[in-house]
Symmetry: C2
Subunit: 239 residues, 2 copies
């Protein structure tokens, strides 16, 4: 009963090199686990979710989680790494595929939101960065800053090429990132809703950016009544 070290199971004994299949099985299972954890954290809050909760979602025992992760802190840390990944990939894709600054921003927003509410499964809201152990905290903060800086670069680029109207870059970044970061608080995985969010949200976030004359085609969108649900999302809305 070897105990996995770092991020892969230890293989010992003669003639047993870890096959790619093994690695990926482990990686896949761990990823499922991270999604389960993210779901719990978003749904029940950090202090409100015990390892038993996370394990239950996987049909496992709390103790079983320790096969994949050193402790709860590392579980959170990995959730955050994963969340950062989703953002990074979205941004990278947008940068390589987009044209003007505004176009890149729009593509990024679309991709990131799509990732968060879609296939990349639930992404954990990063509210507990400060309680990570120092090394992990610094790493996540570094990713976070890198991402923020990269996004601000897009804004600057857009202003330079005239696609985005002049604005306070830092504040604009704060606003948009905040709106994105908060998504897990009000979105609770209804696949149908997801497509709606992917369609509308990026549009709304970038609505204020376009330079005069560069507005986006508004494809006959009309005021929609606040959907059906009671009315939610707000000064802290949540489950």
């Amino acid at each position: 009963m070897p105990r996995p070290v770092n991020d892969r199971p230890v293989r010992i004994g003669p003639g047993s090199v870890p096959t790619p299949a093994d690695e990926s099985r482990f990686a896949l299972k761990r990823d499922r686990m991270l999604r389960a954890a993210a779901h719990c954290f978003n749904e029940k809050g950090y202090s409100g979710t015990s390892l038993k909760d996370v394990a239950a979602r996987l049909g496992l025992t709390d103790a079983a989680l320790y096969y994949y992760v050193r402790n709860k802190e590392e579980l959170v840390y990995l959730c955050y790494v994963r969340a950062a990944e989703v953002g990074r990939e979205a941004l990278a894709a947008a940068v390589s595929e987009g044209s003007t600054g505004l176009d890149k921003v729009r593509r990024y927003l679309g991709a990131h939101v799509a990732g968060m509410v879609g296939e990349r499964g639930p992404v954990a809201i990063m509210s507990e960065i400060p309680s990570l152990e120092p090394a992990h905290r610094e790493e996540i903060l570094a990713l976070s800053r890198r991402h923020g800086a990269a996004f601000e670069k897009l804004l600057a680029e857009g202003i330079a090429d005239g696609s985005i109207r002049p604005c306070d870059i830092r504040m604009t970044g704060n606003a948009i990132m905040g709106a994105i970061n908060w998504i897990p608080k009000w979105f609770h995985g209804d696949a149908e809703q997801a497509s709606h969010v992917v369609r509308e949200f990026p549009e709304i976030l970038s609505a204020g950016l376009a330079a005069p004359g560069k507005e986006h085609r508004d494809d006959g969108r009309r005021a929609r009544a606040p959907a059906d649900s009671p009315a939610d999302s707000t000064v802290g809305r949540d489950t």
Copy 2:
């Protein structure tokens, strides 16, 4: 040594009615305590702050906090009530003083942001609503929903009176509220910065709302370099 019940100290014995001074002293101290707690929660995360941390900020012992609050859960709950208050007041003032829907929205944003970063001291980010005890959770969620609904009403009003361009009200609300809710994550009480935030942030949040022709006077604002600091606020930026 009476123990306070509910939200005021118990007074007993002949000839000792609680004087207004007493009440307000208690209320004031408790408010200081809630601000200290909010500061800690925002800075160190929820699970990262012990009652000792909060007490330390007040020059007290952890045990002393129990004079003001039944337990940690109630402390968080009260922080959230306070946060909701700040939002509610801002919205109420905006509604009574504003003219068009857009104008009300702008006033609300200004007032709420000003409250969060200003005199009303730090406001706790509501990330742990789910771990409140059921009664408290429901109450906070109710406040939250009420606030969200009221804000959406402003948007609807603006669309009706032509000051706000047609848009998906629910999503727009989610976006703006998310950006606001996330403020405590990147703002760390520098009084100078505060005024900058109050000037810029509401402007940015409402930039995408104005109906064509109704744009706000852009008082010669120019692209500003990302200030000085490293570059932050982002997919989870924080201390």
